[in-house]
């Protein structure tokens, strides 16, 4: 424990909801003697240990890698997705970002397309279905090719990589006043549109992913920028412009379906 480590006491107002059909309400908990070196999720683990020892139901929250790269964790802390620190997932948010006596309100992502499973866990499978609609590339199997045989400009590679850093956590949807999944979908569309490997499905990708996004009940973009400001990976709004371009191209210059026959 470093010399800078402090112990702080917090009050948590946590959204408790038994299941998707339950109404849910806030319940207050005390988090005592929290090390400022602990992560936010470690702090919740300690609170849960105490709840379990008392025979209470622990607070349910999503988490997996706890190193900011898997996209599993995420909830609202005082109305901010992943909490107050920029470019940080809640698992990488540390308690030194808070001070003694803070009262924190924890809520799950709220969107019609994200039904609440329990407490702070929201069902984000709508995003998986958007990916299934077009967020993939065709890859032939066979002998492995040399990784450097496909040339990609440095700029395209960098832009594609920036878009590819999206971990699909859903903070953009949670932060958007319209619960739009534009930033998420756009990151996937841009990422693949910029790379040679993504060209085969390019003409249909934006169209299919946007259709799925709409079907899931996400809202439209009103360019408020809340999504990008809340994104733990700083995905830029520029990706939404790229997706809109791709979408228009796909719709306006739709290729005729070639009749390949098949009959005799």
């Amino acid at each position: 424990m470093s010399e800078l480590t402090k112990k702080i006491n917090l009050i948590l107002k946590v959204w408790r909801q038994k299941g998707p059909k339950d109404v849910g309400s806030f319940k207050e908990y005390e988090a005592k003697g929290v090390s400022t070196d602990a992560s936010f999720l470690e702090m919740l683990d300690a609170v849960n240990e105490e709840l379990i020892s008392k025979g209470d139901d622990p607070i349910a929250f999503d988490h997996d890698c706890r190193e900011g790269i898997c996209g599993s964790c995420g909830f609202m802390i005082d109305g901010e997705a992943h909490g107050p620190q920029k470019s940080t997932t809640v698992c990488q948010l540390h308690m030194r970002a808070f001070k003694e006596g803070d009262v924190l309100t924890l809520e799950p992502w709220r969107a019609s397309a994200f039904p609440i499973i329990k407490d702070l866990m929201a069902d984000r499978s709508a995003m998986d279905r958007i990916i299934m609609a077009g967020g993939y590339i065709s890859a032939n199997t066979g002998g492995a090719r040399d990784a450097n045989s496909i040339l990609i400009s440095k700029n395209d590679a960098d832009q594609a990589f920036n878009a590819a850093t999206c971990i699909g956590c859903g903070a953009c949807v949670a932060s958007c006043k319209n619960a739009a999944a534009m930033l998420f979908t756009a990151a996937k569309v841009s990422h693949l549109a910029l790379l040679p490997q993504g060209q085969i499905e390019r003409k249909t990708r934006a169209e299919r992913m946007v259709a799925q996004m709409d079907a899931e009940g996400f809202g439209a973009c009103t360019s408020t920028g809340s999504c990008s400001a809340s994104c733990p990976k700083d995905i830029s709004l520029v990706n939404i412009a790229q997706m809109n371009r791709e979408f228009l191209k796909a719709k306006v210059f739709k290729e005729d379906q070639v009749d390949v026959g098949g009959g005799f």
Binding site: R110, K177, A180, A241, L248, K254
Partner: protein, 226 residues
């Protein structure tokens, strides 16, 4: 390859945004030209009336009016449709509001309210002027409508001046978010242009709003004295 708008464009969120942006862009262009044309009132009453006469004498005005009414109606209906969709997507809010750049700016958050008031304004403005009292004047031997006289009459009433001020400020706020967002909706935004478009949008809004506002203010405080 066929050039068409296939099924699904008009019903998609992005397709609606394209059309709403297009209709908004037509009106953004119109308000700028309307404002610029009206500045002729600062030159002379005759110049102002002659401009109005020239605009309304040909048949082209009907085509322009048709485009303006059509785009306005589609802009409003698309806005209603998208707002309903957006509200359905987020039925419950959060107990605590976010801060800083994570919160939608006032201008972007209240587009619907601003737009609704501006719509009421457009209709009342048409009733006041286009369908208002018909005075006649003669400029260089041509008999034409004396809109200048009507305008001076209207803007001598403080209530009208105040209502115009409020609505024109709202129009400016609406444009400041709208003009920049058109570039985003059309997919023309990229990293290099983003800050330029935002500034351009603000400048556009300020020029249009101030240009318009100068007119009732001038009439109320200066021209009406003479």
């Amino acid at each position: 390859m066929s050039l068409s708008l296939p099924h699904g464009f008009l019903t998609s969120t992005i397709g609606k945004k394209y059309l709403m942006g297009l209709a908004g862009a037509v009106w953004a262009g119109f308000v700028l030209s309307h404002m610029a044309g009206n500045l002729l009132m600062f030159i002379s009453a005759d110049a102002y009336n002659s401009y109005g006469h020239a605009l309304t004498s040909g048949n082209i005005i009907y085509a322009i009016e048709l485009i303006l009414v059509g785009t306005l109606i589609s802009h409003v209906f698309l806005a209603i449709s998208l707002t309903r969709q957006n509200r359905a997507a987020r039925t419950s809010g959060y107990a605590v509001s976010p801060r800083g750049e994570k919160v939608a700016r006032f201008g972007s958050k209240t587009m619907g309210v601003q737009g609704s008031i501006v719509l009421v304004f457009i209709i009342s403005h048409l009733i006041t002027f286009k369908y208002g009292t018909y005075y006649e004047t003669t400029v260089n031997g041509v008999v034409m409508r004396d809109l200048y006289r009507l305008m001076v009459e209207v803007f001598q009433q403080p209530g009208y001046v105040f209502w115009y001020l409020v609505c024109l400020v709202l129009l400016g706020v609406h444009l400041s978010h709208g003009v920049g967002s058109v570039f985003q909706s059309f997919g023309l935004m990229n990293g290099r242009y983003q800050p330029i478009f935002r500034k351009l949008s603000l400048a556009y809004a300020v020029i249009v709003a101030l240009g318009f506002i100068a007119q009732p203010i001038y009439i109320y405080f200066v021209a009406s004295l003479g």
